[in-house]
Symmetry: C2
Subunit: 237 residues, 2 copies
């Protein structure tokens, strides 16, 4: 009888943990889709894609709250320890970052919508942002991949990639300032483009946060506020 | 003997929880000081204040990691339940926001330092940002106060105040765009001011996050992604 009971508890424990795992991957997939669609919307000006991202924002928010709730209940009812607790803590933090990433994609689409509606922009659309958008999306994809595969070495690569994204953002910023100085009538639109570039760069930062959580999950060490050399030593050691 | 044992556990439990409470209030105090000093540095151009904020950033980061660690250990060893678990979860989330607020103050000072060093700016310094800086600092002070006093009604007021801050930020943004259009030579400096204004507005957003955590702590309800009417009904009910 005691054995059955313990087996029952353990099975429920595993089921709850698996439900969290499955749900966080579903949320990650949705958020990645939101970013991918927002980039596509910028390049194409396709209003149906913009509206899809805006409509899906509610779903991201709902998953955020649901996962947070699942994690708190898991801690309260099942008292996970060691690596199970690390997984729950990782999910609690990662869903904050995923929600913020989804929020950026949503706000990029709101901004793009208002730009396209105002008729301020012609094709080719937002080509300046293409390059850093590709970098940021790639970092996000690799961070989520590292999470799914519990691959701390890949996570460390994502953390390292942020330096290049920052450099590209600063270069773009300088370029856009020159555009504004040469043609003051373009200031308003150029500031919108700069804003979108900044939001894109922030998606890269948030992907780094997720990658840091992955290293914590796999290695049990907090690598936030550490140098890249320290991160590499921990994550790849 | 059993009673003694249980008392011992309970005492240790309380001591751990109190240590977390004390430490999060210490971190909150430090972060609030960082914001206050960064605002003072903007207005005065006083390089010793700027250097103080930059030097104290390390301390904020160390407290962030320490508190996070204290919370995970509390969960793992003491298995808090009900309102104790809510406190721990609230601290875990709030320290992320506090760290981000400290980071903004730090970055504002780095940016101000580079502006003052370049000799681009004369007195009066950053007077455009004064007003929203006052609003954001007030929101932060009230959010931390609500946390210390477990006052969900005050927390709801902080959440409501964000709308005004956003409006003031947008008004300032329009005003600065006009400045840039009228004098394209001012674009680079005006963008720096705009960046500082944005970072200040973000401090207000992060104060709202803390206020949302306070409502959760006191009322046990997650008010993120909810309308102000819903927030008020939960927080003041």
């Amino acid at each position: 009888m005691a054995e059955h009971f313990s087996e029952h508890i353990s099975t429920q424990f595993d089921a709850d943990l698996n439900a969290i795992r499955t749900q966080v991957m579903a949320m990650a997939g949705l958020v990645e889709e939101q970013v991918r669609l927002s980039m596509k919307a910028l390049a194409s000006g396709d209003m149906s894609i913009i509206n899809q991202v805006i409509a899906q924002e509610q779903k991201v928010n709902a998953m955020h709250l649901e996962l947070d709730d699942m994690c708190v209940h898991m801690i309260a009812r099942r008292q996970p320890a060691a690596s199970d607790l690390r997984l729950v803590m990782t999910v609690i933090k990662s869903v904050e970052d995923l929600e913020s990433i989804g929020d950026k994609a949503h706000k990029i689409c709101l901004r793009a919508k208002s730009i396209f509606d105002s008729g301020k922009m012609q094709v080719p659309k937002f080509q300046e942002v293409n390059h850093i958008a590709t970098l940021a999306l790639d970092m996000l994809t690799r961070a989520l991949d590292a999470f799914a595969r519990l691959d701390s070495a890949s996570a460390a690569e994502v953390i390292a990639a942020d330096e290049q994204l920052d450099q590209e953002y600063r270069a773009l910023q300088r370029q856009l300032i020159t555009v504004m100085m040469e043609d003051p009538r373009s200031i308003s639109l150029t500031l919108d483009i700069l804003w979108i570039a900044k939001a894109t760069e922030r998606i890269g930062d948030l992907a780094v946060n997720v990658a840091e959580h992955v290293v914590y999950l796999v290695k049990g060490r907090d690598v936030r506020h550490k140098s890249q050399a320290e991160v590499d030593a921990i994550a790849k050691g």
